[in-house]
Amino acid sequence: MSATDTPIQQAITWLNDPLNWAGPAGVWDRLGEHLWISGAAVALGCLVAWPIGVWLGHVGRGGGAVVVLSNLTLAIPVLALLTILPLTPIGFGKPPVIIALAVFAVPPLLANAYTGVREVDPEVSEAARGMGLSGGQLLRRVELPLAVPYLAAGFRTAVVQVVATATLAAFVNGGGLGQIIGAGFGLQNPGQIIAGGFLVALLALLVEGIFAVMQRAVTPRPLRRARRGAGRAERAAPAAIGT
């Protein structure tokens, strides 16, 4: 690499060097960390947000709380949670990073689960009750299946957001692809900075694409047109209601 190369050329050189891909702290290693942290955070978020969201939607209460929660998490800097959580009894390592990311996965998961169950046509639930279904049966056999498109939209939004946010774990040395960018800034190596940015952006766009296809696949055909674009719209929508 010569000093006269443009940053882009340096980035291509960096990406073409097999030494940057292999071994500990190589691209594959960082990618593995990134996916593991993100996966764990989304799983944790689902575990917390879905039962609460579905239950609130089922009983039809707590819409205001859902709006307040999503607005509140919007105002909390990721950096703050990433630096505060390790100093609590949770301790250092991967758990505080996973919990911090899960906090930001909760609002889209919660809001979509709530809306999905809440928006089930009242006539449908009336008919189900008339057929003698109990509250639990109504939830399992009618409301949950009809809420699947919303749940999938929320899941996609949460996954994309967590994968993007996981980059910031690099600030607290928490691993993931962000470390490559962080190290690039530390070394003042523009090629590595851009190469890291490219990898992170590529991963985010890939994940977005994959989960958009997944969302479409689990949405029954008759529901597709009406719910199109629910993913991102649903994220902005609850906040808009609260204004």
Binding site: A75, L79, T83, A164, G196, V200, A240
Partner: protein, 227 residues
């Protein structure tokens, strides 16, 4: 709260002593945070509102405009900083550009929603009264879209306040500087917490300010709300 008794007395979560001793640093960080937020949201609004109007006038443009800003929104903030820093250097400009790009989508989407919610009969009436395209925009469409536009600006402002902290990567993260410096200075909890609290408070204050501005600009919605 008895567990507090077991904590290291030398490193409390909050300390007025720290705030008093570092007033200048804290104020400078806060000032930088406010300036970066204001610049980013103002530029984003100046670009996004005309784009929303364009998409409102020429519906076929809606898809491409939203798709393009959607792709920008998907790219992680640190990656945007990474693309821009080698060209713009380590300065405040490098922080403003990604923040503007992020705020764009939110403002465009909500402004467009506000514009498309203008009732068709109102538009027809304006047309019938002889309003041209620009007169209708200035006197009918935009005023009626104010609630949507302000929702967009509020969401953009709140998320920008949080995002400014990522600017620490190029040394201009406003209050984020306090947070990261506290973490790196042997986990100085008071510094981290002061930065965090000011950040959340700033978001809240700016949000309420914009809410108030919105109330003043749209007196008719208040009358309706009062029933």
């Amino acid at each position: 709260m008895s567990f507090l008794a077991y904590q290291d007395p030398g490193n409390p979560w909050f300390s007025w002593q720290y705030v008093r001793d570092n007033g200048d640093t804290i104020l400078a960080a806060l000032r930088e945070h406010v300036v970066l937020t204001a610049e980013s949201v103002a530029i984003a609004a100046a670009v996004a509102i005309p784009l929303a109007v364009l998409a409102y006038w020429f519906r076929p443009l809606t898809g491409p405009i939203l798709a393009f800003s959607g792709v920008l929104y998907t790219i992680p903030s640190l990656a945007l900083f990474a693309f821009i820093a080698p060209y713009l250097g380590i300065g405040e400009r490098t922080v403003v550009v990604p923040l503007v790009l992020y705020a764009l989508l939110v403002v465009i989407r909500n402004s467009l929603a506000g514009l498309t919610q203008v009732p068709a009969d109102v538009r027809d009436a304006a047309q019938g009264m002889g309003y041209g395209r620009f007169a209708r925009l200035g006197r009918i469409d935009l005023p009626l879209a104010v609630p949507g536009i302000l929702t967009g600006l509020r969401l953009a402002t709140v998320s920008t306040v949080a995002l400014v902290t990522v600017g620490v990567v190029v040394g201009h993260g406003g209050l984020g500087q306090l947070i990261l410096l506290g973490f790196q200075s042997n986990y100085y909890k008071a510094e981290i917490m002061t930065g965090t609290l000011l950040c959340v408070a700033l978001a809240l204050v700016l949000d309420l300010t914009l809410l108030g501005v919105g109330r003043l600009l749209t007196p008719w919605t208040r009358r309706r709300a009062a029933r």
